[in-house]
């Protein structure tokens, strides 16, 4: 009780220096809040996951880079325009966008010059790009196929431009070039390159692939950019059949609309929360003055959490700030419990508050210690996101609790109501609904059994995209643009990792071969690999040597020349082609190297697919797997040094670890709580009893979600920690009342009622949000808090009575 006496002296001092304390409090709050700066706020979701090479964080980052996160696709339609007019409009638009300074990159199609430059780099070394050049030549000199190729060649030789391209045409009797170029084109989808632009299959739409200067998650920039694009679209010249249409789809659009939805959600839920809290305070205290005073500890909690995280880590994740701020909202339970008790006391302001604090001192400390420990256990997690959340919520709840104890008593004594309202008569009447001991034990058992039966059917949805706001029309527009240009978003990547660029490329070549064989088996599609235009030097040399298996003289004399002669070509017509084959076989022609692509249109793809740091190099191949079984099979078959990153697998294997982690950490937290309460109550049974409402609340929540077929997700699973945190408090508050000297006073049960209503006012209103993350948080916490409060108020007294009747008397420790 020494601490309580010391605190009383502080209260007297603060009461005497109230304005100075208030000024100091405001100063401290402002200083702490100033640490919140956009630059110190992390927005990358991957930052919440474990890092390092091959880690989930790297997986999320790479998947983000190769997906649509930071890419904005612009689809231009000029109704009634010819392809030429469309290409001209696209060229003008691309130029204007480049000049605007809003974009890091605006990609149109390759120009004729680009094709010529690329041809000069690749075509002399095209045999290096064939997985099996000897086999390919053997297949292509078969008489029927060769005759077809030579007929096509003659058609080209008859054209006027053959005058300028004769030599190139005669160097390709096996039609290797067009197949090679077609394989590159396939990597870009079903896009038709036309006059340096990318047109859709029907030639009516034009695609510009842009990368804005700032990340998509910089929603302020993204929103302003989209606005500028809308204005630009309005200025476009109309086509013969109508106004030009410019559609912008992709990550920045998703992020902007999601943020706008989130802002609306925040306004709606804050307003409804504020209204609900005002209604609660008005119903209980007949005024709102205490609501303002009770919010002061909350403000300190927010700032305390922020200061702790920013000082220790140097930055805070936006999600932690948002979610953690909600978590420490539980901090209003302590002021409410204290004020409810104070309202039933006698005396002047400070005396009344002091007595209220005396009455609730022990419960408040038990409640705070157990909740804070629950959050601190999160610090043991291997997920940086959960550790950060634990730190924020732990520090926040501690600061909030300290402010409740130190500031709330003198502030309420001075600025609280002159006449305190007693507890409204309907609230104590709830105690009449308390279940009889046998019924209470029966209900508790029924909840446990029902939960155990239902929980195995509970699903976990690890897909992060499902946490976003549901905007089917935006998704549908995005999908239409993707379909129009035959594009596929890369959900799966294979990362080949090695010390040097060439080693990484060599592993990547093995990966490409494996994926090609999987494509033939129908297990993969949409392969985009650097290996298709830049195999490792070792691979190219191996392919060149493999030509030794081909009897060139025989293939030429026995198969090629008879067919060529029959087609009307003279014996020397294709000498340059056979010289090229011989030169490659003797490795006289330099293999392709990354530097060769510097000025070609493939350079930007190369930069994305091959990258080196001081420690290692990675080569990336993207593809679309055909189902989860294909993902597993491909993953198992990969060569050493290559790993498969699949967004579904990352969700399943990484995000899905979160519920397990949370279950373990919650279990540890619960055990720690039981141990602490057992020591405080000097009774293990009473400790377990105090924790039972939260366990019943948690099991009830999981059971209801399972029965309603509502899957848990990253956010709602994390929110279950809050159910435990609140539920333990409710159990302690009610047990304090029923085991105390005046078990019939309504202070404890009404305190729980008020605390649960306030939590529901804060969280339950999130159900109104359009953002699915907030919605799921509202559902999970709403059910959990309501169930825990109901278990505390209606079931716990019965359970206690049941124990009491068996033991005749309560242990001294549980009594005040």
């Amino acid at each position: 009780m020494r601490a309580r006496l010391k605190l009383s002296r502080w209260h007297q001092w603060i009461t005497a220096h109230l304005w100075a304390t208030l000024a100091l409090s405001v100063l401290v709050l402002c200083a702490g809040a100033s640490l919140y700066r956009p630059r110190a706020t992390e927005q990358d979701i991957g930052a919440l996951l474990p890092g390092g090479p091959g880690s989930p964080r790297e997986a999320v980052r790479l998947l983000g880079e190769f997906g649509v996160l930071n890419t904005l696709l612009l689809d231009l339609e000029v109704p009634g325009a010819t392809q030429d007019q469309l290409a001209e409009a696209g060229e003008k638009l691309a130029e204007e966008l480049r000049r605007s300074g809003d974009f890091a990159e605006v990609q149109a199609g390759p120009s004729a010059h680009d094709f010529i430059v690329l041809g000069q780099v690749i075509l002399p070394r095209r045999l290096y790009l064939l997985a099996d050049p000897a086999g390919e030549i053997r297949r292509r000199v078969e008489p029927a196929r060769l005759a077809g190729s030579l007929d096509a060649l003659k058609v080209q030789l008859a054209s006027p431009q053959a005058l300028t391209m004769k030599r190139e045409l005669l160097r390709d009797p096996l039609n290797l070039n067009s197949d090679l170029l077609a394989s590159f084109a396939r990597m870009a989808g079903e896009i038709q390159p036309y006059r340096g632009q990318l047109l859709s299959k029907d030639g009516r739409h034009l695609l510009l692939v842009t990368t804005p200067k700032r990340p998509a998650l910089d929603t302020e920039f993204s929103a302003a950019l989209l606005d500028r694009i809308r204005r630009k679209a309005a200025e476009l010249s109309p086509g013969p059949s109508g106004h030009a249409v410019l559609r912008a789809v992709g990550g920045p659009r998703f992020a902007t609309e999601s943020a706008a939805g989130m802002r609306t959600d925040v306004v709606i839920t804050l307003l409804t929360s504020a209204l609900a809290l005002m209604a609660l305070f008005f119903a209980r205290f007949r005024g709102l003055r205490l609501l303002v005073l009770a919010s002061i500890p909350l403000g300190f909690g927010m700032v305390g959490g922020l200061v702790a995280v920013v000082l220790i880590q140097g930055h805070i994740h936006a999600l932690t700030f948002a979610f953690g701020a909600v978590l420490i909202g539980v901090g209003i339970d302590y002021p409410l419990y204290l004020l409810n008790s104070a309202s039933m006391q006698r005396g002047d302001g400070l005396e009344r508050m002091g007595r209220g604090l005396d009455d609730t001192w022990r419960s408040l400390w038990f409640g705070f210690t157990t909740t804070a420990l629950g959050f601190c256990v999160l610090l043991l997690s291997k997920f940086p996101g959960l550790r950060e959340l634990g730190l924020f919520a732990g520090a926040g709840i501690a600061t909030s609790f300290a402010a409740t104890l130190v500031l709330l008593v003198p502030f309420c004594a001075k600025w609280g109501p002159q006449r305190w309202r007693k507890i409204p008569s309907w609230m104590p009447k709830l105690k009449l609904r308390v279940l009889a001991p046998p019924v209470a034990w029966g209900v508790a058992l029924a909840i446990v059994v029902a939960a155990l039966v239902l929980i195995p059917s509970l699903r976990f949805d690890g897909e992060l995209r499902n946490l976003d706001a549901e905007r089917p029309e935006v998704m549908a527009e995005y999908q239409r643009v993707m379909d129009r240009f035959g594009l596929s978003a890369s959900d799966s990547l294979v990362i080949a990792r090695a010390r040097s660029q060439q080693e990484a490329l060599a592993i990547n070549d093995e990966v490409t071969e494996l994926l090609s064989s999987m494509e033939h088996r129908g297990l993969a599609s949409g392969i985009r690999s650097i290996g298709s235009f830049l195999p490792a030097v070792a691979t190219q040399q191996r392919r060149a040597r493999s030509l030794n298996a081909l009897d060139l003289e025989q293939a030429r004399a026995d198969q090629f020349e008879p067919t060529a002669t029959k087609a009307g070509f003279s014996p020397a017509a294709f000498a340059e082609f056979w010289d090229e084959v011989e030169s490659i076989r003797q490795e006289k022609i330099e293999p392709l190297k990354p530097g060769d692509f510097e000025k070609t249109p493939l350079q930007s793809l190369l930069t994305r697919l091959l990258r080196c740091s001081a420690d290692e190099c990675i080569a990336v191949t993207s593809f679309v797997p055909n189902g989860s079984e294909a993902v597993r099979l491909i993953s198992r078959s990969l060569p050493t040094g290559a790993v498969l990153l699949d967004s579904g697998a990352v969700a399943a294997e990484t995000i899905a670890q979160l519920p397990r982690q949370l279950a373990i950490l919650s279990g540890v937290g619960l055990l720690v709580n039981i141990v602490i309460l057992a020591a405080a109550y000097r009774s293990m049974r009473f400790a377990i009893l105090a924790c039972l409402p939260c366990c019943l609340g948690l099991l009830g929540t999981l059971g209801i979600l399972a029965a309603a077929r509502v899957p848990l997700n990253l956010v709602s699973a994390s929110a279950l920690v809050l159910v435990l945190g609140c539920g333990v408090d409710y159990g302690i508050f009610v047990l304090q009342e029923v085991a105390g000297p005046s078990p019939n006073t309504p202070v404890g049960s009404t305190g729980v009622l008020l605390a649960s209503f306030s939590t529901l006012a804060g969280f339950g209103t999130l159900v109104l949000a359009s953002h699915r993350a907030l919605q799921s948080l509202g559902i999970a916490v709403g059910i959990g808090v309501a169930a825990s409060a109901a278990a505390s108020i209606f079931v716990l007294p019965g359970l206690y009575q049941g124990l009491l009747s068996r033991r005749a008397s309560a242990p001294a420790g549980a009594e005040k």
Partner: protein, 169 residues
């Protein structure tokens, strides 16, 4: 000749092209239609089996092979050398002396019926064609073109069935 060309608004004719190339054992003979509008585009369409269509204008050449299902576009803005070569081909097929003069030296071989020989002034053109001979009929319609290449290969194009639309004075 100049007057005749100036009056021509639109021209179409049938052609027969014969390539005498070392790479081919026999001459490669193709037939088709040529059509152009003054100041507009030139369309060079070959009949099956070697079916193809080449559309030339000031900016680009678009080549379509129906049998192969492919269309190729060459943008001259990206390659000035290519522009000169195709401009030459177009000017020869249109017998547009005004445009040919900066690219070729013109030599009058015969006045009636008119016969001209063109020798390239520009290296990028002379690498491809060494000499071009143009033959006209009495009405100054282009009837024959012979293109001689540096390696000895040559191509002959014979025009007939001219349909000319002229501007009225």
């Amino acid at each position: 000749m100049r007057e005749s060309l100036q009056r021509t608004r639109q021209l179409s004719a049938r052609f027969k092209q014969t390539r005498h190339w070392a790479a081919l054992q026999d001459a490669l003979v193709t037939q088709g239609t040529i059509r152009y509008e003054k100041g507009g585009r030139l369309v060079w369409r070959m009949d099956p089996p070697a079916e193809s269509e080449v559309i030339l204008d000031d900016q680009r050449a678009t080549i379509h092979y129906p049998a192969l299902g492919t269309t190729q576009t060459m943008d001259f803005a990206a390659d000035p050398g290519l522009r000169k070569v195709f401009q030459s081909i177009r000017s020869v097929l249109e017998a547009d002396l005004e445009r040919l003069q900066p690219i070729f030296e013109l030599r009058l071989d015969r006045k009636v019926p008119l016969s001209l020989t063109l020798k390239p002034r520009l290296p990028e053109v002379s690498r491809i064609v060494e000499r071009i001979r143009l033959e006209f009929d009495k009405e100054l319609r282009l009837t024959q073109v012979r293109l001689d290449e540096p390696g000895g290969d040559w191509t002959e194009i014979v025009f007939h069935g001219h349909a000319i639309e002229t501007a009225t004075r």
